[in-house]
Amino acid sequence: MRLSRRIWGKVVHVLVITVFTVLLAFPFYWMVITSFKQNVDLYTMENNPFVFNAKPTLDHLKFLFTETRFVRWLANTTFVGIVVVAITLVLAVPAAYSLARLSGRWGERLGIAIFLTYLVPQTLLFIPLSRVVAYLGLQDSLWALILVYPSFTVPFSIWLLMGFFKSIPKELEDAAMVDGLTRFGAFAKMVIPISTSGILTVVIFTFTLVTQEFVYALTFISSESNQMIGTGIPIFLVRGDVYYWGALMAACLIASLPIAFLYNLFLDRFIAGFTVGAVK
């Protein structure tokens, strides 16, 4: 009797996992299929859409890389990502350390306050910021994004790093100072080198946030050549009312997978940041 229950349990388990995986991953599977189908295949309604009715093709990829600004968008995104990562590190690393170690109970409170600013959404700020950007003469410039993106990457990074710095034993710094380093020296020469994995987490997280952002890029950037991938693909791969579905799906896939992969590698740390200490 127990045996049959156990078999049932297994069946249900496999079933649940399969159903959810299919539901959640289906659009990406669909991107793969679409990317390699010829147009005649895609746009013939009688065809079974789950299989290749005509030979697979690389035409969409060729089109994407030669006829569109896709590569340019990738480059833009990478450029903005790298600069924002740099700014975020410069601002967040010292701040997080200070709040975790140098500022006592006050630091903890300020840290939570900063974390709460992460909850202030882009959709609340994009209207006034569009004026600020115009005022600074940064319309349609990637520098507008570089200016505003740290406003949401810095708070979360500070929060992540605070948790990380708190987990370093205090004795290490005490020892460094007893050995003759200054307070700041202990941070720069002792704490930073042993925090590389925490800092790497912030780098990845910041970069993925930049690639995922949509509202600011949509609001501040107008010309085709200055788009980020998140806006360029959905808006400029559509000419008038014509959707180049094959190329669109290929672009989505190419842009999503590396980001998804990186994010996945560091997932546990991001989760630790999101759980606000509610998991010990």
Binding site: P27, L91, V120, L125, S130, I229, I233, Y243, V276
Partner: protein
């Protein structure tokens, strides 16, 4: 001796308020300038007649709010914002709990399955939404194809998923749930793994079956983590405009408009900054409530 001890203590305690302030001030200033600053600007604009392309503006009192509250599309937007947020949260929490239970057990290939399951969350949402737009296409929708193949509909007669108000609302809801499910799942999974293994074992020995263990022991124990998942989920959905913008751009006939997408439509596309700012301010009350509960969770976690 006493002096020596005092000295060591001042080094060892290692708090250094001045240096500390110097290290966090740049970040705090940046955040104040780019978060608090625009926030107050938004309030300011909401009481003005600011327009794109016009540097002059005047105080107009509550005029913007009055005209917004009269507009039917605003009422639809606020209704949709709540429908999308609440309904998708219900779907997500139920689904994520089930999925987290299933993923808790180790099995072969779990890492890969986790990667697949996470895709909707980790891939840029604009791109995921485009994927759905293709799946829900008016003519070539794979869903329609399947329904036709199963003889639920005649060819060319399948519903326009994004073209009819009710179906469009359902579609947006679907995509929001799809996007958030992985996030809540991994948060709940973290909560589950943090529960010592002997708690469910004790429950088993005490005579509790699977459901009783889940509903009376495990899920109540995960309450803090569950609230974290729900609070973030509410925020992410309530303030999102990407999904709606890409799937339907608020249409058909403003039927899927939400507060953020309407703010964009009026404020940026319609050049009426003041109206847009006023609409987006309606996000604030819920944000404050969520921030309050978030603080409570953080405080509880600190106490225990």
């Amino acid at each position: 001796m006493a002096i020596g001890r005092a000295k060591i203590k001042s080094v060892g305690a290692a708090q250094s308020p001045l240096l500390g302030a110097a290290m966090f001030t740049p970040a705090v200033l940046y955040i104040l300038l780019l978060v608090a600053g625009p926030f107050f600007l938004a309030i300011f604009y909401a009481f003005s007649d600011a327009r794109i392309g016009n540097t002059e503006m005047h105080y107009v009192g509550l005029e913007n709010f009055r005209s917004i509250l009269k507009s039917p599309s605003f009422r639809i937007a606020i209704r949709n914002s709540f429908i999308f947020t609440i309904c998708s949260q219900i779907v997500v929490i139920v689904g994520a709990n089930i999925l987290a239970i299933a993923l808790e057990k180790t099995f072969r290939g779990r890492g890969f399955i986790r990667f697949l399951i996470l895709l909707p969350w980790v891939a840029p949402i604009a791109l995921g939404a485009i994927g759905w737009k293709w799946i829900l296409d008016s003519i070539y929708s794979v869903i329609s194809w399947v329904l036709v193949a199963l003889h639920f509909y005649k060819p060319f007669n399948a519903p326009m998923w994004l073209g009819e108000p009710h179906l469009a609302i359902a579609s947006v809801l679907l995509v929001h749930s799809w996007r958030l499910m992985p996030f809540s799942t991994v948060i709940l999974l973290a909560g589950r793994t943090a529960i010592p293994k002997d708690i469910p074992e004790a429950a088993a020995v005490d005579g509790a079956g699977f459901w009783r263990t889940q509903f009376q022991i495990i899920i109540p124990m995960m309450r803090p983590i569950l609230s974290v998942a729900v609070l973030f989920g509410l925020i992410f959905t309530f303030t999102d405009m990407t999904v709606v913008y890409i799937l339907t751009a608020g249409g058909p006939f403003d039927s899927t408009q939400t507060l953020p997408s309407l703010a964009f439509a009026m404020g940026i596309q319609g050049s009426d900054l003041a109206a847009g700012a006023a609409i987006s301010l309606f996000l604030v009350p819920l944000l404050i409530i969520i921030a309050y509960f978030m603080l409570r969770v953080a405080h509880r976690a600190e106490v225990n």
